[in-house]
Amino acid sequence: MSAAFRGQRVPRRAVLGALAAGAVGCAGRTLEYTMHSVYDDPNAPKGLPFRTGQILLSEAPGPYGILFTLAPDRFFRFTHSALIVSDEHGEPFVHDMSAEFKPTLATAPAGSLFGGIRRMPLADYVALHLYIEVFEPPPNVDRDKVAAKVRELMGEHVGFDSAWDFYDHRAMFCSEFVVTALAAGGAPIPPLVPLTHNPSLRRVLTWFGVTAVESLPAAALPRERRVAAFSIWPVRAMAESYLEAKRELYRRFTDDQNIGNLLELERYEVALRPPVAEFLERAPRLYEGASTLPPEEEIRGRVRALADAIFGAFPEPAPRAPG
């Protein structure tokens, strides 16, 4: 749903530089990863596990991942999606719809937002993110047709759709691009998801140019088994804890909340408020050194306890009485 906004404030080079490199090799070629490979599909065929048609769901650092997490009317773990199309040598390239801001005479952000289909090596794409999961597409998808559709859209120079309008394909947002390409290969188109009713967030989204009332969150894409996962954290439990932290932010962001409770206009920049930044930074550390992936409920419980400690208690609302 989101654009992959460039120019994040997180010092990624410093973070990534401290991480050990993993490697995936195939037929004499090596892809160097500056992030940790935290999941390898045990059922994957031997050789390079990446191929055309695979879906990437990802989370980038910074405030926009949180902003877009809050946008749908139910929680989704990821805010950005992309597609792998291998080149003639079998090298996997990631294709996604991204955008950046350029100075113009526009008085609203959408008027200065420009983008289109971006193509980059998988390793480069991975390094832009906090966490990425790679999935196989739905069964029986014709991968050649997917690749052909991606090339067709690139040839048409389809631009980025800041309005998140799924019905107008002259411009596309990230998951619209992915689902359109997959549909060319025979994959089903998932139902759209209504956007938030939170008045504060609606105002901000409208200012950013989002006029749709329903859209297609990245994590709503149809997909099959997980092939791989890459994380800036050394174990997958830490990444899962980060995603649970996002879920907890979503749970607390009820319709009476201001988006300003989480984000601020800090001089000229949208930023996470310090308690929210602290929460997102500490949540993964709950599982530092974890040798196994704990049950989801356990991670959720510990993340909620951390949120209670930082933000104050926020119990689950009591279920409504019948009748």
């Binding site: 926009y64 100075p103 200065s112 901000v204 601020e264």
Partner: protein, 68 residues
């Protein structure tokens, strides 16, 4: 006749006059609410929000500065 250099300068000047305005309602949305209404802490940072909100915004890699 305008030289290419002057054209570039003119274009740059025009770009610099680009100004993203933050509507009042959007500024208000970026205000933190006070406790206990705020589910994300005490709202202690509320003072840093909308009253001093700029008419100019940096959003991602974009910085727009209003010269008017």
């Amino acid at each position: 006749m305008t030289s290419p250099v002057r054209c570039s300068l003119l274009a740059a000047a025009l770009f610099m006059t680009g100004c993203i305005k933050v509507p009042t309602a959007v500024k208000a949305s970026f205000c933190a609410q006070p406790a206990p209404k705020n589910h994300f802490g005490s709202g202690a940072a509320a003072g840093s929000c909308c009253t001093a909100a700029p008419h100019v915004v940096r959003f991602g890699s974009y910085t727009g500065e209003c010269r008017r």
